[in-house]
């Protein structure tokens, strides 16, 4: 079961379907995860606006570890990219911002696919 990416430039995000949606147990856990994901996305937005990079890093670290386990390997991938950008020897704000947007987009697609906010 594959996944699809949305168009970043506008419109509602294309749903990101969970890879393990055929697994009943994983589907139940995904309901919990997607609820948490909405909270994390809001927190990422806030942390970035306030410039608290350590909070952004913490959230990215948690999503990197959990995303794939809940059937969303894309979230793990994007979170890992964001972490790399933050931890780079010469971290560049623009690149961090770009990776952050990628991660938020991916998370919103997941929420859209799982019945999150429209």
């Amino acid at each position: 079961m594959g996944s699809e990416r949305g168009d970043r430039d506008g419109g509602a995000p294309m749903p990101l379907r969970q890879d393990l949606s055929a697994d009943a147990d994983a589907a139940a856990l995904a309901v919990y995860f997607l609820r948490e994901l909405e909270v994390r996305v809001d927190a990422l937005d806030r942390a970035w606006m306030m410039g608290t990079i350590d909070v952004v890093h913490d959230i990215a670290r948690h999503l990197r570890g959990a995303g794939g386990g809940y059937g969303f390997p894309e979230i793990t991938r994007e979170a890992a990219e964001l972490e790399r950008a933050i931890l780079a020897d010469e971290a560049v704000a623009a690149e961090i911002g770009e990776k952050l947007e990628d991660l938020i987009d991916t998370c919103r697609q997941a929420c859209a696919g799982g019945g999150g906010r429209p």
């Binding site: 147990d25 994983a26 139940a28 856990l29 919990y32 995860f33 948490e36 913490d58 670290r61 948690h62 990197r64 570890g65 959990a66 995303g67 794939g68 386990g69 809940y70 390997p73 793990t76 890992a80």
Partner: protein, 306 residues
């Protein structure tokens, strides 16, 4: 015989600062029939490790500001948690990090995001290993002839029970007993029959409360640790055992009459709540029983009352 490794549902302790990971583990490890505990900080994880004595620990190395390697090191350097298998779980898939984890004593390493089938299999392997270690440790503390706990176990358990009794202010008694004229039994009837007498006596000692810890202390010397009762009640237990033994007939040797002498004390009698004090008091009482003609029970005289 008291079983210190009573069967229970195997325990898994996960130490990770991510609630999402804990939720995932609880949900996806359910088919493994484990009792799953969660710690979200290093301090909590170390405390729970000591208290719960889980069969396996899953430890995230990267917990933000907490150095997971330091936690692993503490687990492996503590006598209380040294033998618990630790599976490191980490989103950090760095080879040098893995090498460090194994060098610090980790049993296994699973990268996040988990392949859940793999994680389950590794957890099962760790639980099997832990259960085998406990079984071997238990066998090493059992006297081969009588099936009672051996001296090594007695020494350990007496210290533990004294600590427990001191913590809770509860009574604790000790019986030391010795088969009377056992050398004569061996010389007259032969060692195989002497062994039979030892085995039968051991069964008498092991028959009482499940919480009592019966041990073979020496050749023909035995000990019973009795939690939550004092010397008077322990003396009654000793009297019952003495009477049962004295009244026993030995079909293979109709002329044989076996008796034992018993010395009894409790923790409250001790000047210091130590194993050495309890053993010394009970041993003195046993000596008094022998001096009094054998086949009797003597309670220790507290040093203050002497």
């Amino acid at each position: 015989m008291d079983d210190t490794t009573q069967h229970h549902v195997p325990r898994l302790l996960a130490i990770d600062d991510s609630e999402m990971i804990h939720r995932l583990l609880k949900g996806r490890l359910r088919p493994e029939h484990l009792e799953i505990h969660a710690a979200t900080s290093a301090g909590e994880g170390l405390e729970m490790s000591r208290r719960l004595q889980p069969e396996v620990i899953l430890l995230e190395i990267d917990m933000g500001r907490t150095d997971g390697l330091a936690v692993l090191s503490q687990l492996k350097n503590s006598a209380e948690t040294h033998d618990i298998p630790v599976i490191v779980i980490s989103a950090t898939d760095d080879t040098q990090m893995k090498v460090r984890c194994f060098d610090l004593g980790a049993m296994d390493f699973v990268a996040k995001p988990f392949d859940l089938s793999e994680l389950r299999a590794r957890v099962r392997a760790a639980v099997r290993l832990r259960q085998m270690m406990l079984m071997l440790a238990q066998r090493a503390q059992i006297d081969g002839l009588t099936g009672l706990w051996n001296r090594a176990h007695f020494d350990l358990r007496l210290r533990q029970e004294i600590a427990e009794a001191s913590r809770h202010g509860s009574p604790l008694a000790l019986i030391l007993c010795d088969l009377d004229r056992f050398k004569t039994i061996n010389d007259t009837y032969g060692h195989p029959h002497g062994d039979h007498v030892l085995t039968e006596f051991a069964q008498l000692l092991a028959q009482h409360r499940a919480s009592d810890i019966a041990c073979r202390y020496g050749g023909e010397e035995f000990a019973i640790i009795l939690p939550r009762i004092g010397a008077a009640e322990a003396g009654t237990v000793a009297q019952r055992i003495r009477e049962e033994l004295a009244g026993r007939t030995w079909p293979e040797q109709p002329d044989l009459h076996v008796t034992a002498s018993f010395g009894v004390c409790d923790l409250a009698m001790c000047m210091q709540p130590t194993a050495a004090c309890m053993i010394a008091l009970a041993d003195r009482a046993l000596y008094d029983a022998k001096q009094a003609g054998r086949d009797c029970v003597r309670l220790a005289i507290p040093p203050r009352a002497a």
